[in-house]
Amino acid sequence: MPTTTPLVLIEKRNRTDTDETGTNAATTREKVTIPVKGMTCAACQARVQRALQAKPGVLDASVNLMLKSAVVTYDPTATSPMVLVEAIRETGYGAELAAQDQTAFDEQEAQDRAQEEEYRELRRKALLSGSFGLVAMALSMPLMGAAEAEIHGPVADPFMRWVMESMTPAIRAVAPWLYTFTPWVLSYTLLALTLLVMGWAGRHFYVRAWSAFRHHSADMNTLIAVGTGAAFLYSVLATVAPEFFLSRGVLPDLYYEAVIMIIALILTGNALEARAKRQTSAALRRLVELQPNTARVVRAGAEVDIPVNEVQGEEIVIVRPGERIPVDGAIISGTSAVDESMVTGESLPVEKQPGDRLIGGTINRTGTFRYRATTLGSDSVLAHIVKLMREAQGSRAPIQRLADQASGIFVPIVLSLAIATFVIWFVTADQAPAMRAFAAAVAVLIIACPCAMGLAVPTAVMVATGKGAEGGILIKGGEALQRAGQINTVVLDKTGTITEGRPTVTDVVPVLGTEWSEKDLVRLVASIEASSEHPLAEAIVRYANEQSLPLATADSFQSVTGRGATGVIDGAALAVGNEALMADYAVDLIATKEEAERLAGEGKTPMYIAINGKLAGLIAVADPIKSTSREAIQKLNRMGLTVVMLTGDHQRTAEAIARQVGIDRVVAGVLPDGKVAEVRRRQQAGEVVAMVGDGINDAPALAQADVGFAIGTGTDIALEASDVTLMRNDLHGVVSAILLARRTMRTMKQNLFWAFVYNVVGIPVAAGILYPAFGILLSPILASAAMAFSSVSVVTNSLRLRHARVA
């Protein structure tokens, strides 16, 4: 389901035009107004208008001289405003599209469209210039044959010689008339064909190379432009004035077919690369596409479908089973199970009740419900994720620095090497020195591929962050990814990370022979604790409510910090708390001593209950361990990581929890500052520390850690506080994130290795280093194929990360 930006949406609704016969002609057409600069007369106006009308996909174009603008109606499947702007600019007038505020969604969509367009254009150019290349090769055969027989010995380019030897019989059989043309006709036809391909398909190489050159910079375009440009000029001279070469003992070889084939092959490589690059951001595109186009809202008592961007805050939205939830909000009435897997990675549908929060873009599975829209547009959870992911995909990993440094100086060095190659061949070659020198120098220029180095790390970062996002793991960027791959210690906060973070009553034990029943004890304790704000008190009150026990009002309530609480309920003096509180009231604990120790040994927090100075029983509260914690921690251990648990709990409770989940390093009794100190202490000992916590209370420790993992609760994403945000509330995300990061690091290193080795090996081979020993010379055409392959292979290797197993 494609998403729609506000601007396009308005236009799309007007798309279904009614034609003269009254039937609906569902043509796809869009209209755009482009300001045009520099028009001074009617002739200018006509020129721009003609240029626009000549563009494929343009249904109508009208240029207004007074308003200095062009209004173009076009078929969006065939062209785009950017192509139109380019067409105007080609006429010599200025044009640009109006700037507009963009949300992360719009930006992603615009980028996707631009990339798709670029891919299609490159593919078209590659295919056409490839066909021209084949024609040029065929035309060159008789020419080379004639040259070999009449002017000089074997053709210098080994690839072309091989092609000629193997293809000539076939061409002679299929198109014998080719051999009836004079060399003059053939060479001028080739010249025209080459000019056409250079001026149309390869034009951008020369334009960009020149533009870069003017600003003292050089890039891949420079290499292609210099390589093909030199080959072309040499061939033109040889065509126009062959005597000039012959009189100087140099043979007038032609390289037209090489120029065309080089351009075709590089364009093919670029097209494949563009397609692969698009795939690296596929995960992000899928996230953008989650947002539905319309929402059903209640307005003036009626249900109406409106575009999603027109939904107002606080508006009531209705969602039926199977529909996508259009915007973020909170349920007012109705219940359902919601599939949030696309945002949080949680595979099971989540039960939702009134009051529960919803994430826009997730799918309602079972029930119909009404909810109130809360965050909209760029504030929504999905928009935040998309924004974060866009930033992450664009960030740099430190490992890239090497590639950056190399690619900064790469092109001028290759230019120098090509010149050196020419000089050495010219001076040392026995046969046809100029030709050999020339072919080798062009091969050096063409084989060198700075692009592979530039692509090695960013493509891996893009694929990895996208893959993470699909599993509800939001990685902040390349640096976080790289550090996550180096982690050797994982520090886990206990509450809310290993455990649910929501204490519940687990045991109520009346003392043997007491007059108070279990229910009495719960009711009395809950009545006291209702006045307390302690998290454990909340658990007891909730427990009493769940059992529908009527609570009484406590008289003279007193909270004793660090010990418990006291008060009078229905005339009974109650004290609930730990051993210290009981000691204050001289309560004998011997009757429950054993029971209390057993409970503490299980990681529960036992509280003594004394009524009128006598021990009446025990109530135990525990924070249950998440069902997934044990398995995830076992995996972390198996991955060779040191797992440490940090908690403010007492040593004994902490150790009990740690034992249950399989952690043998526990730091108990730490305050929030202590967490930071513990992380720092481990870092100073040389460990690369990951801290996993809840983003809010643990923010300082997350910031101190080498990699901070914030464990989310589905909707509250503490994106800023952490390096990695886990949308799903369990520890499996930590395992997946570290596995993904390790795998990504491996991919980056492979890519960099390949990119460097390719150039380090390829350039000398192209220069002819193997010639003295093995007689191997690289044809410029083969060099261009190798170059096209090298950057495609790097992107493809990064794309393999999509299928990496990280669970």
Binding site: A114, R208, A209, P412, P450
Partner: protein, 126 residues
């Protein structure tokens, strides 16, 4: 060695020298940011096969508004990256895209395209 060979050798050496001088040593023109009424330093940078101007000088601790005017459709320049500022932005073709940042440190900060092939430099001074 023949005369021709000598010419080629001397020509080759001088070309190599010139290339390295031109791309590494020749000074790129530095453009100073103008300051608007609100005290924001604004620079317009044309993106076309490179960044023009490629070297921009600004003052520290003052907001900087960089207006990138991308005048081409080539995928190479579709993104602008300021690694030191953690900024990456998509530049739509034939549009002006504004990017604001406030440098808190002096120094040379590189900006590049998404693939770090096109390069520019932000010089932050006191």
């Amino acid at each position: 060695m023949s005369m021709m060979e000598w010419i080629v050798i001397i020509g080759g050496i001088s070309s190599i020298a010139w290339i390295n001088w031109y791309f590494f040593l020749a000074r790129q023109p530095v453009s100073n940011a103008g300051i608007d009424g609100e005290g924001v330093q604004e620079v317009a940078i044309v993106v076309e096969g490179g960044y023009h101007p490629a070297v921009v000088s600004v003052k520290r601790d003052r907001p900087v508004r960089l207006v990138f005017d991308r005048r081409e459709r080539s995928g190479c320049s579709e993104e602008i990256v300021f690694p030191d500022f953690g900024v990456r932005k998509f530049l739509p073709a034939f549009r002006k895209t504004t990017l604001e940042l406030t440098p808190a440190q002096t120094g040379n900060f590189e900006f590049t395209c998404g693939m770090s092939m096109l390069r520019g430099r932000l010089i932050v001074q006191d």
